[in-house]
């Protein structure tokens, strides 16, 4: 790691994966907490308010880290990737600005209202605030994924040879990029699955705890809710992921070949390897478990579809991109991503995702019709589920970003050419070390807080105030319902 490029890439990887540990969790949890509060409003049953407040608190602890690590995301494009920013700003900056104006303001303002509004807002409005926060997280996902999808499959732009920049020509095309239309539901369903797995795992832990025996019925509801949502969302992740695989094969065939470490084109019935022992670079295979024809199906939708291999694709890419007179924006040494990374992250993504879905299904079945399983393996399986779901999200992003390499914008600009030319390695080192150390400390603190509050369990039921929007004259001296 002696070049600014390596440091900047590692920093991007570290801070982005870290940021995205919290993002899917909070997208999913805002919806679930809003749903819990809605159920409380509709039924008036105290346990739903207790769950709302309990998971609301855990949500806020996670949301805070998601927010502050998000600032780094916006700044580092300019700091470490200034040539990338110059090249794509006209196209890529717009969704980012809209994200801030449309989504970040909604999220931050209405979350503040929700946190402090228990004694200031009528109950229905208070609940609506959390729904608005959730809509904000969805809007944020939409625009940032549109920006990312453009990097995977640039559309709606032209390359201006005079300025050497990509210029936006059709914003609607960027918004309806076919990669975006499938990536958004894939990421959002994965977020619902992650948030639901969290509710499931935390509820199961408290459900099994002797100290909280009196509240077992309540936590059982949390388990059921989490498992049901995780299962439905998990099915959504699978379906959208399947469609996404086919679009990826179409627009980035190298990524699919790299996902399978498929060096030579398979004319039909390409097998999918579940596990390979041997050299993971694919040069020699010693032992492999494969499912016949599955790769053909994943990539093309037909069991006898043709799947192109890395070697053929590399030759094609050299033909397409290597001879281009405008090649100053890409000088790849090769057109192949790092195969072991793509091969394994692809498998882990699918594996973790499937595991979460199966776990949710199993738990739903074990708790059917009032059954109350008490075995410790049930608890541990449930508690492990959110971790597995989060790992699935992380490996999914590692796969899709590493699989695009050496490009930063597919077919237009290589990652090596996007890095800031004016930034020295000393500065970049200071940045990556400082951020990594700080993030590590924050991880310890946040896990400590989560564990602390999960062990403590939900607070007892307290009837919250039921204020009207006008009434604040009579309560001038009343203490705040919530204060920092």
């Amino acid at each position: 790691m002696d070049s600014i490029l390596d440091i900047a890439r590692w920093q991007f990887g570290i801070v982005t994966v870290y940021h995205f540990l919290f993002v899917p969790l909070t997208i999913g949890l805002t919806a679930l907490v809003a749903a819990m509060e809605t159920v409380w409003l509709r039924t008036g049953r105290p346990e739903w308010l207790r769950l709302t407040k309990f998971f609301g608190k855990l949500l806020l602890i996670n949301f805070a880290i998601g927010v502050v690590t998000g600032i780094v995301q916006e700044f580092q494009f300019g700091m470490n990737w200034s040539d990338y920013s110059r090249f794509v700003g006209d196209v890529f900056g717009a969704p980012l600005a809209v994200e801030a104006l449309l989504a970040f303001f909604l999220e931050s303002t209405f979350l503040g209202l929700w946190i402090f509004g228990w004694d200031r807002l009528p109950r229905g409005l208070h609940c609506a605030c959390m729904w608005i926060v959730h809509v904000g997280t969805l809007a944020s996902s939409w625009f940032i994924l549109a920006a990312n999808s453009w990097m995977q499959h640039p559309v709606g732009y032209r390359f201006n040879p005079d300025t050497g920049r990509a210029e936006l020509t059709d914003f609607w095309a960027v918004m309806t990029n076919k990669v975006q239309l499938v990536t958004f539901p894939h990421v959002v369903t994965a977020a619902y699955m992650t948030g639901a797995a969290f509710v499931l795992g935390v509820s199961a832990f408290l459900y099994a705890s002797r100290r909280h025996e009196a509240d077992r019925d309540m936590y059982r509801k949390g388990i059921r809710l989490g498992a049901a949502v995780a299962l439905v969302a998990g099915l959504g992740v699978a379906v959208t992921g399947d469609v996404q695989g086919k679009i990826m094969t179409e627009v980035q065939p190298m990524k699919m070949a790299a996902a399978e470490a498929l060096y030579d084109t398979e004319e039909s019935c390409a097998p999918f390897s579940i596990f390979t022992v041997g050299t993971p670079d694919g040069t020699q295979e010693k032992f492999a478990i494969t499912v016949p024809c599955l790769l053909s199906f994943l990539a093309t939708g037909s069991f006898d579809g043709r799947v192109e291999g890395i070697n053929d694709l590399r030759a094609q890419y050299e033909q397409t991109y290597g001879q281009d007179p405008g090649a100053e924006y890409y000088s790849p040494t090769g057109y192949t991503p790092i195969i072991p990374v793509t091969y394994w992250s692809f498998r882990f993504m699918i594996g973790f995702g499937v595991l979460t879905g199966i776990g949710a299904l199993l738990i739903l079945w074990l708790t059917r019709k009032g059954r109350s399983p008490t075995s410790s393996w049930f608890t541990w399986m449930a508690v492990g589920l959110p971790v597995v779901a989060v790992l699935g999200s992380s490996t999914g992003w590692i796969f899709t970003e590493m699989g695009r390499q050496p490009w930063v914008v597919f077919g237009l600009m290589t990652t090596a050419n996007g890095v800031s030319p004016g930034v020295g390695t000393a500065e970049a080192w200071i940045s990556i070390v400082a951020l990594t150390l700080l993030y590590a400390v924050l991880a310890v603190i946040e896990i400590g807080l989560i564990v602390h509050y999960v062990r403590k369990g939900a607070d007892p039921f307290v009837e919250p105030p039921s204020p009207s929007l006008r009434g604040s004259d009579d309560d001038e001296d009343r203490p705040m319902a919530f204060a920092y």
């Binding site: 602890i61 805070a64 700044f75 494009f77 602390h452 203490p479």
Partner: protein, 338 residues
């Protein structure tokens, strides 16, 4: 008016919004060790901005995103050039943001005083460094023909920029004290009011020196008008504070910050980042801007969304309009007292 000029104005508006709003947040954070005599007073101060600080901070994210979209070259040169100060601001904003949400999560005094430190340092650093950054933008920095910043950290730490940092720091402390006088009650309110005048005088001296210096370096007739109005607003705010007119006092510092920042942008125009290497290498609203297509699109987005944002953000301030006194703070941290 050219679209790129419209966007220069809009970006100025976003920065003005940011400094006027998060300025008092920073001030409250910096005053934490000065004004509060015990933990409940500290909590009273923190809770005056508790529901709104995050919304205030989004203004800087929007300013950053809008600069990226509307002036990609400006965004790229500025953020890669001002690398270490921006990194420090990032680290500060991270620990500061978490301090709000995490401080009350544990009752231990050591835990809370550590987060207090995070809140104080996380407020002082950006309050100072944003001033340094903006002073450097107006003064100009070495930029080469490739639009790359060619200086280093020491280039940025020149006397003019350091004075700019002192000015924003003192102005934000004053602004925060005015805000606390407006939003708290009891003893804290009076102490905040008194302090706002004392710090405000120092801020006024530093600000006038800085604005005169700026006028000499980069000013024209228009910027002079802005700077004079800013100075008058500050004097007016201080007079109002002396007379115990807290609303007008806060309005005074609000207008001071808004008009002074506007004046800096007026002095900057039509450059967005002047080069001290050669005027030919300066980034301007024309050579740093995005295409007309993107700017038109972004204009529509801004025209539709900005009023809505202002409306609901304003509504939030109205919802939490009540003054907060020590007795409003529940004894137990983070507890529901109702």
């Amino acid at each position: 008016m050219e679209l790129s000029t419209v966007w220069f104005v809009l970006i100025a508006v976003l920065w003005i919004g940011y400094f006027c709003l998060e300025g008092f947040d920073f001030g409250v954070g910096m005053l934490l060790p000065v004004l509060a005599r015990d933990d409940r007073e500290r909590r009273t101060m923190i809770n005056t901005i508790g529901p709104v600080w995050d919304g205030n901070e989004v203004w800087v994210l929007t300013a950053g995103g809008a600069t990226f979209a509307a002036f990609p070259e400006w965004y790229a040169t500025l953020f890669s050039g001002f690398y270490l100060p921006l990194l420090l601001i990032l680290l500060a904003l991270i620990v500061r943001g978490l301090a709000f949400e995490y401080r009350h999560q544990r009752p231990a005094a050591a835990w809370q005083s550590r987060w207090d430190l995070a809140l104080i340092v996380g407020s002082v650093l950006p309050a100072f460094l944003w001033g340094v950054a903006f002073a450097n933008i107006v003064r100009g920095v070495p930029i080469d023909a490739d639009k790359e910043f060619t200086g280093n950290l020491l280039t940025l730490l020149n006397p003019f920029a350091l004075l700019g940092g002192v000015v924003t720091l003192l102005l934000f402390v004053t602004h925060g004290a005015m805000f606390l006088a407006l939003k708290t009650d009891g003893d804290l309110r009076h102490r905040a009011g008194r302090l706002s005048v004392r710090v405000g005088v120092a801020a006024a001296v530093a600000a006038v020196a800085f604005l005169v210096w700026t006028q000499l370096i980069a000013g024209d007739a228009a910027s002079a008008v802005f700077f004079i109005v800013a100075a008058l607003a500050l004097v007016g705010g201080l007079v109002a504070a002396l007379r115990g007119r807290e609303g007008w006092a806060f309005t005074g510092t609000f207008v001071t910050i808004a008009v002074a920042v506007a004046g800096l942008f007026v002095a900057l125009f039509p450059d967005v980042m002047p080069s001290t290497t050669s005027a030919a290498f300066s980034l301007t609203t024309t050579n740093a801007s995005a295409t007309d297509y993107t700017l038109t699109l972004m204009t529509w987005v801004a025209v539709i969304l900005t009023p809505i944002v202002l409306l609901y953000q304003g509504w939030t301030y109205w919802i939490f309009r009540r003054r907060i006194a020590v007795h409003h703070i529940p004894e137990e941290v983070g507890a529901a007292a109702s």
